[in-house]
């Protein structure tokens, strides 16, 4: 684990980060750096960010999460954001933020299944 306060775990070839704390802006910034460094260090094929504990995702946090997924993608890693609460989804869309281009899944299980399908597809190539 790197400098931040959000643990990043490795399960097979997937990294899992579960955000369980109220997010300060600085923590989100550090998290982004940590995740990208962990991807490089572990050569993870997939990244899952679990936000099921987050009651609030404002425009700054939403943009940082989306940007992290885009940065991971540039490195060659697919990101799935899992567990967005109904009220968070409703709030983001009402604000006009649609998280375009970001893959999401209902739950951690669904996110892992999605990552496994990506890995299998990559191996088949």
């Amino acid at each position: 684990m790197a400098s931040g306060t959000i643990p990043i775990l490795k399960i097979g070839s997937t990294l899992l980060a579960s955000i369980q704390i109220e997010l300060h802006d600085t923590v989100v910034d550090l998290f982004q750096n940590d995740v990208l460094q962990e991807i490089e260090k572990t050569a993870a094929r997939g990244l899952i960010i679990d936000i099921s504990a987050l009651e609030t995702v404002d425009s700054y946090v939403a943009r940082m999460l989306a940007n992290t997924a885009k940065m991971a993608k540039l490195m060659g890693t697919e990101t799935v954001i899992v567990g967005m609460r109904p009220a968070v989804a409703a709030t983001l869309v009402r604000m006009g933020y649609f998280m375009e281009g970001i893959t999401t899944a209902l739950s951690l299980e669904e996110g892992l299944a999605l990552q496994n399908s990506y890995t299998k597809a990559a191996e088949a190539e």
Partner: protein, 147 residues
């Protein structure tokens, strides 16, 4: 009424929580105070998230653009209706082009360009008073829905 956030101070007669914003962590303090009050007064989860997000956006605006200011949160009663009012006041640079800022897609240093326009869509009432060089005061209100 219990004090919900360490830096929030309620007045006795007309409960008013006042939170100084002069560091990044205060964004979280304002957000938590708004969330706790909305929950305590029985707002549904969608209204709680909307109000909390609005609180977060506007307190970040104060921190990023003015570096210091104050958030005041109070409970409103209109007959049987219950509402929450949030006021943000700073003496920062103000907003030169308010129409553009409210139209959205107006991106500054640390926002999506959705700060003001997005926040406006999350609440029932939105009032802004700003002047370049003088500062900004924004008041938002959200009323609990009665079924």
């Amino acid at each position: 009424m219990q004090v919900l956030s360490a830096s929030a101070v309620p007045h006795e007669d007309n409960p008013l929580w006042e939170i100084r914003i002069d560091k990044e962590a205060d964004i979280v303090a304002v957000r938590q105070c708004a969330r706790d009050l909305a929950k305590e007064h029985g707002f549904d989860q969608f209204a709680v998230a909307a109000l909390t997000t609005a609180a977060s956006e506007l307190s970040r605006n104060v921190w990023v653009h003015a570096h210091k200011g104050v958030a005041r949160i109070k409970i409103l009663r209109n007959g049987k209706r219950v509402g929450i009012e949030l006021e943000f006041e700073d003496h920062g640079p103000g907003i030169a082009d308010l129409n553009r800022a409210l139209a959205g897609g107006f991106s500054t240093a640390k926002s999506l360009g959705l700060g003001l326009s997005g926040t406006k869509r999350l609440v029932d009432e939105f009032n802004i008073d700003t002047e370049p060089g003088r500062g900004t005061k924004i008041v938002i209100r959200k009323w609990k829905r009665e079924f």
